[in-house]
Symmetry: D3
Subunit: 146 residues, 6 copies
């Protein structure tokens, strides 16, 4: 996609990304990079004793991959001023090793702030089973054309 | 710290983590892992033309490191049921390459949900200049002792 | 960009990517992943004694980043059958730590092969000084619409 | 092996490397480092719908690992002036997760260029099934003894 | 845990860490970072022909993870002067992909050195089968309170 | 080098590796992989207050890189039975970001154990200033020719 300016966004506009399989390597690398080695993510023996019965991805990994999938669409590549906030982020289902996730986004509000505009995007992540694993509202400040 | 059960949390209880310097390597690895190679994070020439004048860390990287710093305190190591949500996450100042960040957390609410409890934590990230770069509310479901 | 089918490609069509700064971390990670720890890439003391006077990126790293930058444009996302060959790849100038590179691509030939088509792309990598650091011909088999 | 000078190379000389298993982690890390997250490499669900029926390694990953395996032989460690080009690189068979690959190299031509020499090497990568997955000609400028 | 000063250590004091599953990704990343791509660690075909019948983790990876698991306990976070030595390190059993390891530590000697103290720690790593895979003596110089 | 069998080792035999610069990226990646984020390695502000005045590499990183540099010489590639122990490992000087290190090894003892042999190697790591930063004895079980 081309980079979109504030004027290019329309309320109701929808986007969907390609998919990505969440691998054991992703979880290990995310634990590594953040330092969050909670056993529920990286100890297979402990994970067997939890309600999930297996290791689960960090919610913050799913969230981070979601922002990456959306960014790769290119619509904010050179027009983003700041990705400045997130509201009501909920992790609604576990992501297991081998699950494949996609992100969906829908423009739900536009606010003209003078020099730039704010776009509110309802974003969610869905896995191959159809289950929604994450949803939230993203707040992005975007350049205006003029 | 020992793992804390729902009963061990007190409203007003405060925690502070050790620090971590955000390096160029962290930003490159986070861009890599998520696929978010927006030029503002990884193109030094482009970044010179922005209001920041240099590359900035992904807000989601700062957020992810914050969760890692907090988890390393150990208080949720074997008592977390689910880290299920985040509210009002705001990225309030840029984090540049070489900035050193710490996380602070304060218990602001406890809710007994029967089999487990919910703890709301006001979390923030501060850098070496004293500037707050991120704040949010974390929602964690925690095991009960009984 | 949208994924392009064979019929969508036009000879002479040109593409340019965003930029990416090649960091010390990229070179270390590429040495790591490939096992190519030749001192010219990773030994700062040795590199001082060479004609370049400093460490240089692996040509294969520059080439790999180029393919990544081009793929991120999205035009081959779901239409590539196979990226099956490269001709006359030349590394024409060194890439140093801190250099920022962009890729350019130009469709130079289309061949209809019945079930799919072959697109030849002249690709090059340019750094912030304007110097071309790599050029080659890529051969990609692409889906047809029909 | 010792580092070889131009005079040490003989036409017809052959080399073979040890093997390396291409893992899911390698593919994820290469996608990460390059930014090439094409679904054919990293989306297990999408990959099921392709002619390969599963995810395949990036050709550029196989090529990069090949250069690493060859460099680890040590024969160019301190004598390489520049690895300056590649001709007729072809990806002839897919590399799947779990395949083990080795590189083979054969000196096919020597050219004295005065201050240094050029060695042309026919290189290929073979997997455990015996299938050749990649072949190409490498061009390397090498120091002379004198 | 709180950081412990020399005076806080008691001979006979014991610590145990949480567990961590050693994944294929860990072994690949460690081979990458160190450059030790010995086939016994990363060539699945070669590994079938050894007495282990499969790839094994680098002993130095197990040792490095052990120090990480111990450090995460936090007892040395801000009191370590120097981790200056290791004695009689033995790799007593193989660690395979998928094994889950924990570290155990026991204070076996304290030496007052005037400005600081030396603590000798008998450390071992155990896997889910109960087998000890590594043991050694760690020597750590630690701050005194006064 | 060729792989060496037990019979090929001679007491007094010496080896030296090429060099490698220890980068900020190496330290971050090692902290990541092991989970040892002690502030002395990764918090630039804290490190200023220590006797070193700056961040230092993990001793275990230097040790791990040393084993990698030695393995890359190839002399144990297909003849190592087990690298089973380390004695008297001492970290004698700090390694700072940007230091370039090399490993040296000297065969100090051979023991015939019937089916295989044990080789004791005195190994050390030296940096560009000439300072020895690490020394130890490695114990390796090696195949016999017969």
């Amino acid at each position: 996609m081309q980079s979109l300016y504030f004027e290019d966004f329309q309320e109701g506009m929808e986007l969907e990304t390609v998919g990505r399989t969440v691998t054991e390597a992703d979880i290990v690398m995310f634990a590594a990079l953040t330092g969050d080695w909670n056993p529920i993510h990286v100890d297979a023996e402990y994970a067997k004793t939890t309600i999930f019965g297996q290791r689960i991805a960090h919610g913050t990994l799913t969230f981070s991959i979601m922002t990456g999938l959306l960014m790769r669409l290119g619509f904010l590549e050179e027009t983003v001023v700041a990705f400045y906030g997130v509201d009501r982020l909920r992790f609604t289902n576990p992501v297991f090793i081998g699950d494949t996730i996609k992100a969906r986004a829908k423009v739900v509000e536009k606010q003209d702030r003078g020099q730039f505009g704010v776009v509110k995007i309802e974003a969610s992540v869905v896995k191959q089973t159809g289950d929604v694993v994450l949803n939230c509202i993203l707040r992005v400040a975007v350049k205006k054309k003029g």
